[in-house]
Amino acid sequence: MSTIAKRWPAAGVTEIPYWVYTDKDVYESELDRIWYADHWLYAGLEAEVPQVGSYRTTTLGERQVIVVRSAQDQISVLENRCRHRGVQICQARSGKLDGITCPYHQWSYALDGALQGVPFRRGIKGKGGMSRDFSPSDYGLLRLKVEVVNGVIWASFSDRTPPFRQYLGERLWSSYERIVSGRRLRVVGYNRQFIPANWKLVIENIRDPYHGALLHVFLPTFGLFRPDQASEMRMDETGRHGSLMSLPARDPGAAGHGEDITRDIAVDASLQLADKRLIEAVKELKGDETLGSCCVFPSVILLQQINALQVRHIIPKGPGGCELIWTHFGFEEDDEEMKQRRVRHGNLFGPAGLVSVDDSEVLAMAQRGFATAEENGAAIVKMGTGGRENTNEGHMATESAIRGLYQYYREVMGL
């Protein structure tokens, strides 16, 4: 692994040097040390591959993989590359297969990646072919380590990655389990977007309770989220994972704002929703939180807000961009009313979401800001105190979760 000739500012994690968002060598090193090392990466939902042979292709880091149900109770995650001459075999986003066959020379793999068929392996009429010691078992598709946890498929390029629950840590397990409790999931739909911003900005954003009521004017305007409501920003011991939970300050959807510290922030109190069903929630998960997120470093955010449930899958695309794939989901037991409610609440999210659009735009604006920064330019992260040891601060006037993230980042990156 290469050493990066960059020095972190002496101030430590209260400053984040802009080069972490723009430097190509840093990005390449992140792929080696984070994405392809001992970390779990989000690979999909079990519900997306319901039958033996069902598959989806997806990208982990920058590497394309096939996620396939290879047997009744087995999910395989295989690199989408023929071991023969490197062809990317599956070109479709999803489908159903009996086996995996490369079009170039028809090399055929079983659903679990084992190499089964090499045409003319024995030659033609005794001439040519592979030598006798050719061993197909040496040339199966690259298999990632897989763990399915409460219906979510996790994959890792490293065999040394600890079991998922240990990787996530007990402090965040309840936030994870709250959203995916083991109930059978159902996909509601997908959004895909490209954000011209560094992938770490997406992670910082979900761990930034400070911006919630200030950027997302929709939220305080309609009483969904206020900076003074009870909230919990929690991190695991390493600082890499984070969860943000928020309890309602009052019944969401109620008319008017009353005495509310956001009144002085330019929120137009005269605005009322024409159809309050857009934000009216039915309690369905454990606890009274109206917002619960679990960000599993580095690749995914699981989030519940009102009755919208979603997975946001992050795919880095160079230092200056990332793809964000939203999988909106519900539960198999949802009745018609809940199905409609989830679609309605889903309008807050995605590339054009009434709330999420703000994030995509502002992150792109941030990346444009970094692009012309001076060499030793840095962002400052000084709200609140402390870093990863400050778990569960209970208020939103803090950036401790961002400092915690970079405490881990500096360790794993050797910066």
């Binding site: 009996d98 028809q106 055929s108 079983a110 089964q116 068929g117 090499v118 003319f120 024995r122």
Partner: protein
């Protein structure tokens, strides 16, 4: 015709000269003819997986390995014994009369219907 009508498909000598594995088309039906330890067997010369010619494959014991993806069939029963093959291949009753190898006309006609 009666059940006892048989049709000649090959000679024992040419089968031996072909190393015990021969492909032959009789009345539009592709046949693979095998010889193992003096006994003869016949299957349809078409792998049930990807339709390759089994007669171009590799015979070891009573197992024929398809040349395309190395799937396996037992030539005695037609059973698919190795992946990626799962569906059995059609077999034909075969007789030897002197030098001649014969299959039953009825079984050939049944196969013809499926061609």
């Amino acid at each position: 015709m009666t059940d006892s009508e048989w049709i000649r498909i090959a000679s024992a000598t040419e089968l031996k000269e072909a190393g015990g594995l021969l492909g032959r088309s009789i009345r539009g039906v592709p046949l693979a003819v095998y010889e193992v330890g003096g006994a003869c067997f016949v299957t349809l010369d078409r792998c049930t997986h990807a339709q390759a010619r089994l007669s171009e494959g590799y015979l070891e014991g009573f197992l024929i390995e398809c040349p395309l993806h190395q799937g396996l069939f037992d030539i005695r029963t037609g059973e698919a014994t190795g992946p990626p093959c799962t569906e059995p291949v059609r077999t034909f009753a075969v007789r030897r009369e002197g030098e001649d190898l014969l299959v039953s006309l009825k079984s050939l006609q049944e196969a013809q219907e499926e061609e």
